[in-house]
Symmetry: C2
Subunit: 237 residues, 2 copies
């Protein structure tokens, strides 16, 4: 399927491009080995992610000025270490663990699909992750972005319209020349309301084998794909 007017693809990243759950759990396992801890690694990763939306919500509501996701991740990590009864972990080790989010691994089809898509489209991130997080992750995972956009340049967290609209504006493109790519129905609905085209990519194991949410496209998105390689096929790359 060819959609001629689309010039740029804007990507959600956590869950859509990279497997945060397994990757963060792996880093917690490494901490277990290094420190003799016995943390539930997957449980820790899931609990950390569960604090993600509440952390941004205070900013979305205007109760707090915009701060980077790295800082929200760190605040939530300190809460969790306490909850998991980890005491006295030194600052440098907390900082290193916090940067687990900079070292997430891609889904197996992400790099092959993006590499094909890059030949035809501008590839930009439109993630709530901050610029340094996105750049370091791209170096770690080999993600061939053309440009890092999203929450930090926009100073707004998805699904706030400013996050999508400012990303398009930085590319000097109208929203309907941009297509948001995500594995999450709510992200695409918000992008669509801003005038962007939409592509749903199925990630049925983002939340593990018993995932109940986002198991299918729940709205009439422009494209629905099984993987990034399938997306490249469907977009004529």
């Amino acid at each position: 399927m060819t959609i001629p007017p689309v010039k740029a693809l804007l990507f959600d990243v956590f869950g859509t491009v990279v497997d945060w759950r397994s990757s963060v759990a792996r880093e917690v396992e490494a901490l277990n080995r290094a420190k003799g801890f016995n943390l539930d690694a997957t449980g820790f990763a899931v609990a950390w992610r569960a604090l993600y939306q509440p952390g941004m919500d205070t900013i979305r509501k205007g109760e707090r000025p915009w701060v980077k996701l790295d800082l929200l991740h760190r605040e939530n990590l300190d809460i969790l270490l306490d909850r998991f009864s980890v005491r006295g972990l030194p600052e440098a080790e907390r900082d290193r663990l916090n940067r687990a989010w900079h070292r997430l691994d891609p889904w197996p089809d992400s790099v092959p699909g993006l590499t094909r898509l890059k030949a035809k489209f501008i590839l930009g991130t439109c993630s709530n992750g901050n610029v340094a997080l996105m750049v370091n992750m791209a170096k770690h995972a080999g993600l061939p972005w053309d440009v890092i956009l999203g929450a930090e340049p926009a100073q707004a967290y998805k699904p706030q319209p400013e996050c999508y609209l400012r990303s398009c504006a930085l590319l000097d493109l109208p929203p309907d020349a941009c297509m948001m790519v995500a594995a999450h129905n709510n992200d695409l609905v918000a992008a669509s309301k801003c005038g962007l085209r939409t592509a749903f990519v199925l990630r049925p194991h983002e939340h593990g084998p018993s995932q109940t949410t986002d198991r299918k496209a729940e709205h009439a998105f422009d494209v629905v794909a099984e993987s990034f390689v399938d997306l490249a096929d469907r977009l004529g790359c």
Copy 2:
């Protein structure tokens, strides 16, 4: 020469990475052919570039709010078309000519050198060009940037300190973990005052065969290189 603490290279682009003079002249030649004009193509390119600094100066002095370089280029183009006695060129053709700056060609060593440097360092632009200009140029010229930084994200034009410092901050790096790469002494002096490391790359033909400025490094920069390939050698890539 290996400089272990440097994590990111920040690049000046116009003149350092791409040959604006020949590239813009080529687009003016194309306009001559298409419209039966007889413009001095190189003279037009040089005159356009001569209006570059004055356009930014009003913003640097605070006499005007920050606007994108695309807009400054367009205002200067309209002035020049009038000066060169081109009347009635339609809006779409003026816009297309203005985007000549999005289609500049790299120096022959730029892509090979950047490709080697990318394996070891984060490669960011720190140009006065706006994000769309930089992204479109990278697609045209095959420039393998990891991230687009510089004037638009910083809302400040080099050599204002905010342009360098905000670029480092977006990477969450201290200035001395970043190295500014430029063919212009004044750019590197300004970056150095902000605490960045500096690499001078010689571009003796940016202004044509009789160039008089920036023919050598005039200060004690950390690295002086003959080309981007030489820079890769000197940085141990």
